[in-house]
Subunit: 473 residues, 2 copies
Amino acid sequence: MSGSKTLGSGEVLCAEVITIGDEILRGEIVDSNKALMSERLHDAEVETRFHTSVLDHPAEMADAFRRAVSRADVVLVSGGLGPTRDDLTTEVLADTFGCDLVLDEASLETIRGFFRHLGRDMSDNNAKQAYFPSGAEVLANPVGTAPGFMMEVPFGAEGGDEGAGAGFERVALIFTMPGVPRELALMLEEQVLPRVLARMNHGANNAAGGQGGRAMRARLLRTFGLGESSLDAELQHFARDAGVELGFRTAFPDNYLRPVVRAASAEEADSRLEEACREIRAHLGDVVYGEGDETMAAAVGRLLTEHGATIATAESCTGGLVAEKLTEIPGSSSYVMGGVVAYANEIKTALLGVSEALLKEYGAVSEPVAIAMAEGVRERFDTDFGVSTTGISGPDGGAEEKPVGTVCVALARRGAATHVERFVFPLDRIRHRMLTAQVALDWVRRSLLGVELVGPSLLRRRGGGSMPAGGQK
Amino acid sequence: MSGSKTLGSGEVLCAEVITIGDEILRGEIVDSNKALMSERLHDAEVETRFHTSVLDHPAEMADAFRRAVSRADVVLVSGGLGPTRDDLTTEVLADTFGCDLVLDEASLETIRGFFRHLGRDMSDNNAKQAYFPSGAEVLANPVGTAPGFMMEVPFGAEGGDEGAGAGFERVALIFTMPGVPRELALMLEEQVLPRVLARMNHGANNAAGGQGGRAMRARLLRTFGLGESSLDAELQHFARDAGVELGFRTAFPDNYLRPVVRAASAEEADSRLEEACREIRAHLGDVVYGEGDETMAAAVGRLLTEHGATIATAESCTGGLVAEKLTEIPGSSSYVMGGVVAYANEIKTALLGVSEALLKEYGAVSEPVAIAMAEGVRERFDTDFGVSTTGISGPDGGAEEKPVGTVCVALARRGAATHVERFVFPLDRIRHRMLTAQVALDWVRRSLLGVELVGPSLLRRRGGGSMPAGGQK
């Protein structure tokens, strides 16, 4: 296949991500590999323009491969490299682009070694994982038996890209990776992305009149407490003429904003993005809790660490979710002392010191009980913060004065008043628990920031009050 | 557009699922809508053959729509119906298939009413959600502001399907739905699937020589404890000639099996599937913990309920994950009393009665401490089962004799010996916690079933011993 170069300078590489497997098309799995691949491509300034998934079906796989090389410079393929009978990716790629399948002895030995290391013989079906299309470059898989590979294929006749540098023979790079997420993640990072970056640089160096090229920069701002259309309304005068694209998305219980900036140079894009984020934060204030992959629990952990503060949890309806989110963060053992899941009332009394009289008078789902739980766990665990949840996540258990969805959240603080609020979240059980846990975490964050402890509202405008019609801001 | 009918009898309808949004292609979200749509289509015996995602980019959206109607009978589109400036689905669909955009007064009033109900005025940008392609049928959205719609479009000239009934003008049905998962889920269930089913029946009724058609049946079997290729090897003599397709997939920490049967009638498919599942269970035994959407925690909950037994948790490294999984199940308050997240050693002592001497002699991550935690929580919560986890999930905290990944799990039982085991799972923090929690839950299940309490192994063959090479079974 052609080794000649591909790209004029200044072009943004365009990618297609193809995942293969009947289980995807039957909806048996949520295919998170596509998001991972696109995210990492995006970080590398390669724009994913298409996601495609097809069945383990040779004709449809071949069609997808041909179409991809007609419209993308980089094609990432995952799935279909396994040892089982429905794994066809290697064969179909070889067939589609007219290559033979060749045994790679080194890979066979590696796979044998993998099994030897585990003290067992290699299955026959694993041997097929050592065959590759002729001319392909093998990509090592240090954590599994299926190696991936890279092929170069002439950019299809069907389309070409409007930006293709005339006079250069353009090729598409196809990378295959296993569908097992952790094997894919490692191969993507260590084998695929370095080759994509090398190709980008090579392309730019070879092009006539290379001059640095266009750059794209983006950042994810995570918000909690405002609905998507409120966010859009808040920001409607922002960025429209400033050349900043603003993406919105709901990731319950959060909403994310994604400002994207394109500029002639990376430096310019960086500085314009920085300015855009500053402006967005000025509009939204403490509604923005984090950036990038910083979850609410990570933001809380960062603030607790900065303040040298500790926390304990007393959970009824969330059943351990608040503790689980806090402790998911590496290093959380320095500020999380632990918690109590007090599902039964006896446990609220025995382990948290909630008096039986209080439970009897107000019921388990009540402000006084939430306060007693939060204060009880804070005192017993001797922490700076104690957070509690008690509610009716449903689907059963509601009553007229306390319908399903009712929940009380309390935050006890060393040396400060305990804050409590009652909400009714008309959500299913899973989302009710998620939203309740996020409110609890957000209050810890807000308390550490010294800002008002407010609950979520899809309607609330910062500063309270009702929301005026859009366009009047 | 044509109202004439579409399908010969006996055909399986074929679907394409298209999701739209820059955030998907940038990898900012894991697009779970595609899986949901395909799963429900599959249940309705419609086969999803393609998943496609494109940017909020009119030309690429139009191209995807045209291609879809050339190869699918049913096209489900999600995303791009929102009020914000990057929502283009309605406009592009109208444009692609030559329709005008028409205001639907009823929808406008519904959207206005939605906001009135919330005590605020409608934003201008929400009004655009009341415009639809002429001839489209509006699909109500009772939980959000964006209605969906259904369009009928002549099946494209590009392809047609080999199965198309000659003499019938074939049309594709396009359904649009919002991208917000819960809005989509409800609209899919209440608006889209009934229309798809009606079309299938209508097609069959109209077709010459209709005779019941081919039926497809599938079931998901959930397994824990055996790796994918061991499962495949175990089942290699199964089903190959029995007309049962067997799909495998890893959904860490589980592996799922999906037997799929096609037959001339639904009855035949049902009975052959039943037989296939019986045979698989006979091969794999207690490795199969559930079917369909029954999670491990749900299976445990079912068994606890059947036995009238109760449980409490004592978690260190899993930080609340075991309790969270147990309490996620509706009705779990009848068997989960609660738990303790004992992250700090002081909490292990104060709340679970683990002696300081034990902690000092063996360290927090040790079999004796795991036993003391499990027995401590079982006694204090007065439950039938007490389950504990203590380990080093990483990334830091390992030592030579207890490397990162070390974990002890214990199960205390009323009136029976406590079971404890130490594992080293060489996994990242998140997966280490997931696997540990699943072992803990699986032991409760195994104990209730009266089978051996075993840990997971990617290699272990049931009954222990080393695994012979494939093909020798």
